[in-house]
Amino acid sequence: MSASPQIPQGAGSALGSSVGAPTRSQTKDGGSSNLGTFGVKSGLAQMLKGGVIMDVINADQARIAEEAGACAVMALERVPADIRAQGGVARMSDPHMIKEIVEAVTIPVMAKVRIGHFVEAQILQSIGIDYIDESEVLTPADEEHHINKHSFKVPFVCGARNLGEALRRISEGAAFIRTKGEAGTGNVVEAVRHQRAVSSEIRRVSVMGEDELYAYAKDIQAPFHLLKETARLKRLPVVNFAAGGVATPADAALMMQLGSDGVFVGSGIFLSGDPAKRARAIVQAVTHYNNPKILAEISENIGAAMVGLSIDADLKGGHMADRGW
């Protein structure tokens, strides 16, 4: 048994294969390949960087998103604002609806499963979805365990409010992390809180000695080897997007300037006055996030933003960010 710690390896380090991602070797005629390595899982997230991933509920919306420049779409039955308003148990979407969306577009298609619901994940993997979001926006299926994501070929993205939560998810096999801003509120304040928390914790650990890292790892309930790797890299070892509450091009650029690699937009597009226009403006804002002159131009005349909610104890649908352990 190897005692070496498991550090997520980038692509090209398949020989190390220390994260235990499943591989399949083809040896016929001497050509070999490894499917579903951590390298190709985290690699797809790297290809999405600088892009916008949009929530869509049918093939028509998916086409609008693709035409507006989305780098991927998230297929789901109800956008988070509607889940919040309507209540009830929110589950994985009908595979038929997801397949229609896969047929309609050429960009990657993601879909959500409930926290801990590994059978929903098996179903999505079998229909060839490109990425799975183990999401707090759906009703959790397990209040103790997340999915063991190493045992899947399909990659996973998970939400995190702070560094400890992010590293716990990565140790379970997540190849992509996002903030857990309050979905369906059109209020970016929680996503900002999470992005700032992760960045400031990384700044702190980057100057710690090894003895301090041991103590800090225990403190934030993170695996030591992942914390050490994060301190060395001075960033999370996987791609990190903003999600939850992004409603305007300025919100998207704010998250990028705070250090996000890209942005998820949920209810903010298709519950706004002019989805196609707003989607395209947010896509441009993520590219030109450091250029206020361009941001001003693209923010003009894009119709009404979604209605926003303030995040307090009475928030209808509750605080979704508290789901996840």
Binding site: A104, T106, R280
Partner: protein
């Protein structure tokens, strides 16, 4: 230029969407006699400073739209005609002459390399893979280069006409890795890296490895000869 002067080159990386930071890190690790300045290109003004350009992996539909909205499409087409470009994955799609599996209604390409290409040729993400490649002309070329193929395109055919620069294939995957759903007649579908004139095209991602031999190759074989000529 004096004989012993250090050559300065400006290499741009199209930074509209995708894995541009990874290319930048790799280029900064290339050591040679040249002094390489790396520029992230988001506007026509950025592009005007560049001797050569890398179009990174990402989503080709997104990159093409952002290029159009940023006023870069025509300057990029002009750049393709006169300067050196390397396209990886989505970048390879944008440099190709025609594309199948395009989004509904078709998608915009820059052209410049005489190949026909299929997007997502291997299928969805669960078919993404890594495979060791033999590449002609790399330093230590007996050591395989890890090819990282992520929802990668497949080159369907090479179609250079006699009046165009010849295409030089520099790497193929073993025939058994060519996706069954694609196989047409002919050997071209195994090609994963090639050169034509000033341009380099790879359907995989050298920027996602720790191995900078491909970036070194690009600088040595494509960029430096073009600026000294």
């Amino acid at each position: 230029m004096q004989d012993r002067a250090v050559t300065r080159v400006v290499i741009g990386i199209l930074a509209l969407q995708g894995a541009f930071a990874e290319h930048q890190d790799m280029l900064q690790k290339v050591s040679g006699r040249e002094k390489i300045d790396v520029v992230q290109v988001r506007t026509p003004e950025d592009l005007a400073r560049c001797d050569a350009l890398i179009i990174p992996g990402g989503e080709s539909t997104t990159i093409a739209l952002l290029a159009r909205l940023s006023g870069l499409t025509e300057p990029l087409k002009e750049f393709v005609r006169t300067k050196v470009i390397w396209g990886t994955c989505a970048g390879a799609i944008l440099l190709s002459q025609s594309v199948t599996n395009a989004k509904k209604g078709g998608q915009e390409l820059l052209g410049g390399v005489s190949v026909r290409i299929a997007r997502n040729g291997w299928g969805s993400q669960v078919e993404s893979f890594e495979a060791p490649l033999q590449v002609h002309g790399l330093r230590d070329s007996n050591v395989p280069f890890t090819g990282v193929f992520i929802r990668a395109p497949v080159i369907l055919s090479l179609q250079a006409t006699p009046s165009e620069p010849a295409i030089q294939v520099i790497s193929r995957v073993p025939a058994n890795l060519v996706p069954q759903c694609i196989v047409e007649d002919g050997p071209d579908q195994a090609v994963v890296a090639l050169r034509q004139g000033r341009h380099l095209l790879t359907t995989f991602h050298p920027e996602l490895t720790d191995d900078n031999r491909f970036h070194e190759y690009f600088v040595r074989e494509c960029v430096v000869p073009s600026i000294s000529s």
